[in-house]
């Protein structure tokens, strides 16, 4: 079974198939690239969701807040994605990738899984919680990855929620 669990000694371990590990690594890398190469605010709904306005009804305050915080926030998100990529960079055993994640690693994983799902959700135009019908094969793949990563995140929350 892929996902996270807590061992009897208290360590949080994740187990994935080689393909699953590759998908997460690729997507985390894409989040990193998306944030690193970002240009002006307002040109990509996914980025607007990853780095949202702090003020809803005051553009000046929102812009000023963004000026002071956006770079650091984006940098932290890139760093978290980097932690995820690096933690999956292990040799598979019997076609499974098994990793141990420490406390800071868990924090990075939770945030990066969220950032990936926010981005996929934005690309899929998710507007409500109801399951939606994919429009083409590409959407079908994105949707199944989106749902699967939700499951993976749920297993991680359960593993740390003691």
């Amino acid at each position: 079974m892929s996902g996270f669990s807590r061992s009897r000694s208290g360590d949080v371990t994740g187990t994935f198939s080689v393909d699953e590990a590759r998908i997460i690594r690729d997507l985390a890398g894409q989040i990193s690239g998306l944030l690193t190469d970002r240009v002006t605010h307002g040109s990509d709904p996914a980025l607007d969701r990853l780095l949202p306005d702090a003020y809803r009804d005051n553009d000046d305050n929102a812009a000023e807040f963004r000026r002071f915080t956006e770079d650091d926030l984006a940098e932290r998100k890139v760093r978290n994605a980097g932690v995820v990529v690096l933690s999956l960079d292990v040799a598979p055993k019997r076609k499974r990738v098994s990793i141990e994640v420490d406390d800071p690693g868990v924090q990075s994983w939770l945030r990066t899984l969220t950032d990936i799902r926010l981005t996929l959700g934005s690309r899929l135009n998710t507007v409500d919680e109801a399951p939606r019908t994919p429009q083409d094969e590409n959407e079908e793949i994105m949707l199944s990855i989106y749902d699967w990563l939700g499951y993976v995140q749920e297993t991680l929350i359960r593993a740390i929620d003691v």
Binding site: L50, T69, T114, I157
Partner: protein, 100 residues
């Protein structure tokens, strides 16, 4: 007879920035989004704000059913820190004056 207020003391109070009584407090709001898991939102509320499980779940459900919930009240700078932390977790948060 009433003693004259000591101006130096008054200045000290003002300089310490403690005269927030006349100002409206600010609130941090978390908004519903279709992506984040309920268990994750509740965990964020517990781990960041220190709510117990019942309180975290109550506010998470408020977000879910009402579309938003107040998760903190205080001075503006503090609310800005909370909002940035929520964005770090991937939650959709904003701040505004409490009466807005």
């Amino acid at each position: 007879m009433v003693q004259t207020l000591d101006r130096t003391d008054l200045n000290a109070v003002v300089e310490q920035g403690e005269l927030v009584l006349l100002d409206q407090p600010w609130v941090t709001l978390v908004w519903n989004d279709p992506v984040n898991l309920m268990s994750y939102v509740s965990w964020v509320f517990r781990s960041y704000f220190g709510f117990d499980k019942a309180e975290a779940d109550r506010r998470m459900l408020l977000v879910h059913t009402e579309g938003r919930a107040v998760v903190a009240t205080g001075v503006r700078e503090e609310m800005e820190r909370h909002v940035e932390a929520m964005h770090d977790f991937g939650l959709w948060a904003t701040l505004q004056k409490a009466d807005a």
